[in-house]
Symmetry: C2
Subunit: 321 residues, 2 copies
C-alpha cells in the first residue's frame, strides 16, 4: 500500500513555499520542501505553485491524502475562496479549494496566513496541547490567529485574531487602515524604525550608538538596527524598543481580558529583538491583563515556516475529516 502524503502550500507576499509531510512525521519528507519568489500576478503564481507541487510529488512516492493552504490575504475559509491579495493582482474571488481539489484529486482546505500559522504553532510548535491559543506575528506588520479547542476560530468573516488593528493608543500614530494608534502602527518593525527616526530628529545629541550603526544616516534606521543598538546599551534605542514592546503588551493585555487564553505565542522578526523587548512585552501584557489570569507568553517555534506547518495540519484535517 502506498503511503499517504499531505501537501502543504504557502502563498506568501514575497515567496511561495510547498512541502510534503508523511502522517505522524515531525519533519518534511526528504527533499520535499521547496520555495520560489512571488511573481507579478495570480496566474503566474498559481502556475509556479502547481509546478512546485508536481515536482515534489514526483520526488516522494505516495498517495496524496489532503492539501492544505495558507494564503497571504483575506480568505472565506468556509467556502475555500480567496477574496483577494493585497500584494498580487488577479486573486479576486478565486475558488482555490476547488481548483486544488480537482487538480490533485484530494480534499483541500484554505485559510489566511494568520489563522494557518496559529494552527501550525498549535499542532507542531510552541502551542501544542493548548486549549486556547493566540498566535501573533510581529514583523513589518502585525497579524494573528486563534486556535480554540484545536480548531481555527475565524469569527463571522474569518478576521478573528487581527490584533494588529486593535487600537491601543487612541491619540497615537495614523495607521493606513484609517484609525489611530493600532497595535501594528505602534509596535511592528516599521513602527520601531519610524519612532527611532522621530526620536533621533527630536534629540540631536542622543542616540550616538544607533546613529553609528545606521552609518550616520537616520533615514536608514531599521527595526533590527534599533534592536541592535538597544542591545549595545544605546539609551534612545532602548526607550523606543520599550515603547513599542509596551504597545504590543497593551494589545495582548486586552486580549487576556477578553479571552483569557491559556497561551500567547509570538513570532516574526521583531521577536528577535532580545530579552529586553520580551520582558517589556510580558510586563505590559500582565499590567493590562488580569492579575488573576495566567499569562503564558512564549516565542514561536516554527519561525517563517509556521504557515507551511499549519497548511500541513489543514491538509491532515481535510484528509481525515
Amino acid at each position: 500500500m502506498t503511503q499517504p502524503l499531505y501537501l502543504a502550500l504557502d502563498y506568501g507576499g514575497t515567496k511561495h513555499s510547498a512541502a510534503l509531510l508523511q502522517p505522524g512525521a515531525c519533519a518534511w519528507a526528504a527533499h520535499a520542501r521547496v520555495q520560489s519568489p512571488s511573481g507579478a500576478d495570480a496566474a503566474y503564481d498559481q502556475a509556479t505553485m502547481l509546478r512546485m507541487a508536481r515536482e515534489l510529488m514526483a520526488r516522494v512516492p505516495g498517495r496524496l491524502a489532503g492539501v492544505g493552504v495558507s494564503f497571504g490575504g483575506p480568505v472565506d475559509a468556509r467556502r475555500g475562496v480567496v477574496r483577494l491579495s493585497h500584494h498580487i493582482p488577479g486573486w479576486e474571488e478565486t475558488p482555490l479549494r476547488e481548483l486544488l481539489a480537482q487538480e490533485f484529486g484530494a480534499p483541500a482546505a484554505v485559510d489566511n496566513d494568520g489563522n494557518v500559522a496559529a494552527l501550525g504553532e498549535w499542532r507542531y510548535g510552541a502551542g501544542r496541547g493548548c486549549a486556547s491559543l493566540l498566535y501573533v506575528t510581529v514583523s513589518t506588520g502585525v497579524g494573528g490567529g486563534w486556535v480554540l479547542g484545536g480548531e481555527i476560530l475565524g469569527g463571522a468573516d474569518g478576521m478573528a485574531g487581527e490584533i494588529g488593528h486593535m487600537v491601543v493608543r487612541p491619540d497615537g500614530a495614523q495607521c493606513p487602515c484609517g484609525k489611530r494608534g493600532c497595535v501594528e502602527v505602534e509596535a511592528c518593525g516599521t513602527a520601531i524604525a519610524r519612532m527611532a527616526r522621530q526620536q533621533l530628529a527630536a534629540e540631536p545629541e542622543a542616540g550616538a550608538g544607533l546613529r553609528a550603526l545606521a552609518g550616520g544616516s537616520p533615514e536608514s534606521v531599521t527595526g533590527a538596527l534599533v534592536a541592535a543598538a538597544a542591545a549595545a546599551g544605546d539609551a534612545l534605542a532602548e526607550q523606543v524598543l520599550d515603547r513599542a514592546a509596551a504597545n504590543l503588551g497593551a494589545g495582548l493585555g486586552a486580549a487576556i481580558c477578553l479571552m483569557n487564553p491559556e497561551r500567547i505565542v509570538l513570532g516574526g522578526g521583531v521577536t528577535k529583538a532580545g530579552d529586553r523587548w520580551w520582558a517589556e512585552v510580558r510586563r505590559a501584557a500582565s499590567e493590562n491583563g488580569f492579575p488573576q489570569a495566567r499569562v503564558d507568553i512564549m516565542p514561536a517555534a516554527l519561525g517563517d515556516d509556521a504557515p507551511l506547518w499549519g497548511a500541513a495540519a489543514l491538509a491532515e484535517s481535510a484528509a481525515t475529516g
Copy 2:
C-alpha cells in the same frame, strides 16, 4: 411517565432567584419562578436557595433532570467550584456542583454570571442561532461572556469575556482593579454619574436641565438622571453620555478586531439610556473595529433574567450531556 424539569438557580449579589423549566418551553413553568434578597453569609443564602428550590419542586409535578447555576463571582466551571463571592462571605472554595447534585439527585453545572447570562441570551434571547456571540452587561459595573459554537468560552481561568477591565483610555480614570481607563470605569452607570458630576463642577453655567433633574444637588446625579437629561436635550448630559458610549464602543471595537464575533448583545440598566447612546456605541464600535467586519450590536432580550435563563440552559446541558 413524569415530565422532566430543569432547575435554574441564580445566586446574585443582591438577590437570589430560582425557576423551573420544562424541556422545550419558552416560559417558566406556572408559578415556578421565585426570588429572595441575599443575606449576610453563604450558609444563609444556601439555605434560602434550597428552600426556594424545594418549594418550586413541590408546586410542579415532575422529575428533576438537571440543575444549572449562575453564580455572581469567580467560578471554576470545570470543577464546579465557587472560588469566592465579592459580596458575601463564606463562599470560598465551595464545591457547589457536587452539593447540588447530591441534594437533588440530578446532574448539575455551575458557571459565573457573565458567562451564564451570555449562554441565556444565546439559547433563549437575542443571540439565538449565533455561531459567535459576545454578551456585555453595562450597569453599575461591566461584565460579559462569550458563547462560541453553542458553548461558553471560559478561557484558561474562566475569565474570558471580562471586557470591563480592558483598557480603552490609557490616560483615563483610576479603576479599583488597579489599572487606568478600563471600560468599566469609563462607561458604566457609576462612571456616567461621576463624569457628569465632574463636568457640572467644571462648568458652573452648564447643565441646567441635569441640575434641575437632580434637585439642584449635583452629588445626587445618577447615570439614569444623565440619560433622562440627555433625552430632554441637556447639552452637558449629552456630551457625558456620548463619551461613555464611545468608551464602551472602543472596547467593543477591540473585541471585533480580536474575535470578529457574529453578534454583540448588550444588556444592563445603561442600555436603557436611549437611541443616542446606542447610536454612539455602534458608531464607536464600527470606527474601532474593522471596516470589513460585520457589526451586529443588539439589545439583550432577557433583561435581569438572562442569568436565570442561562442557568436553565446549563441544566439542560447537564441533563443531556
